[in-house]
Symmetry: C2
Subunit: 259 residues, 2 copies
Amino acid sequence: MTESPGKSRATPRSAVQLSPIDVPKASDVLVHDLRERILRGEFPEGTALPPERELVTQTRMSRTTVREALRILEVQGLVRIRAGRAGGAFVQRPGRDSVASSVSLLIRGRRIRLAAVLETREAIEPVCAQLAAANRTDDDIKALKAANAPIEDPNSSLAEFLQANVDWHVAVATATRNELIAAFMIALSQAIYSSTENESFIDAEVRRITARAHRSITEAIAKGDAVAAARRMTRHVHSYAAAVTEIESRTEIAVPDAG
Amino acid sequence: MTESPGKSRATPRSAVQLSPIDVPKASDVLVHDLRERILRGEFPEGTALPPERELVTQTRMSRTTVREALRILEVQGLVRIRAGRAGGAFVQRPGRDSVASSVSLLIRGRRIRLAAVLETREAIEPVCAQLAAANRTDDDIKALKAANAPIEDPNSSLAEFLQANVDWHVAVATATRNELIAAFMIALSQAIYSSTENESFIDAEVRRITARAHRSITEAIAKGDAVAAARRMTRHVHSYAAAVTEIESRTEIAVPDAG
DNA sequence: CTTTGAAAAGGGTCTTATCTTTGGACCGCT
DNA sequence: AGCGGTCCAAAGATAAGACCCTTTTCAAAG
């Protein structure tokens, strides 16, 4: 590009300067409006938004646009949409599930190794146990013990064992009384669950060890002994991670990936 | 309903039992198909999906349905859609951003207190620093130092300070070489940033202290001293949380919410 | 060589119509 | 009283087509 000497920028030809102006899509405007109002708490949970055709007349947008906006809100977990008579879009507050699903997408999409997931759990869950010991209610203790029952039972199936395992970890997370850290832990637990459900190394021995660890951690939480809870949880998740990592390193060599 | 004595349940009248059958929507089927193929890595990142009208003929679905599916994938961060010639849906692997935004929705929607967010950071970031010290590359150190420059500079604006603050924490997270824990930390940092941007307690003193803490943590990470990095980070985030909590408890009484 | 303007390829929006699902009301038989 | 059958109405789901708006490309005009 030959330019007049001394000038390194393109010729302006006019002094006025405008910054790029972003024109949002119609549906995004509606999404933004509704989302803000929902998050602001303007509509209590369960409130029905007006039916699509009604929103069309109110907003003077096309039905396509309105539907698109509602669909986006649905994916973001802010409304639940049901078909049929008395159906419609019902306001919902976003829950742990939406975090869990985006974490799941992250893990699958970026091929995050199970080792990294377990490392993350090792980072979070001990503190989780510590907070749980400090903040747990009696109901939390009940939930912990209930979740541990199928784990103690040597007759439960593998699926039951795994599910109960998740339940127990979720119960610990819930007992922290910190919804955010709980959401993280739940996302992790589910991710680990779905990566592990086909693992065969979970034999009777592993189950016995798991049951014992859970029991002792539950006790510490029940007693409000934060230090012991954290220490025991550290050991528990670390030994689990070590076991999985060891398996993984062996299978990685054996099966160099099919995809 | 007269029942035969000895039975306490409702009369079945038939032994057959069916579980609820879920009939997926057409667009969900398409979403599922595309999502699996994207996550499986069948299309490398940046691949253009066929244009909408083409997908219509291929799938024999209506354009509405196809568009709805694409929109869902876009919200989930799996494709990016651009208008205009050479536009279309381009495959994207989900990133930290989608986790961050769902966390942000969770926090806002469930009214999670800043204290809980800070508590979560206290749980995660020390381990983050520890992992960073163990795994950091030279580029990570460069990024850390670069991010800390505007913080050391007493002439930078508040906005610059806050942005640099986020950048530094993100750099620590990145240095862990664990994309999952990094995604969590980034989500937290952004959430804390947007809750803090209007806080006025960030005076010159706070900035000096922050700069010093960041510098010493950066050094520990650079030296690979995981223990020191974790310890210093613990102190850093804890003192910050304590300061904010103290402010929050005062303002909560002063301003009982405008609704 | 630059400017300008049209064409082309896409997504975005609107309209209208039809299909499907769901809840409820009524009705008639047993 | 209970139970199946029929019908209706409300609401979302899907379809088809027209048209609009953006962006890119490219060639003609200056």
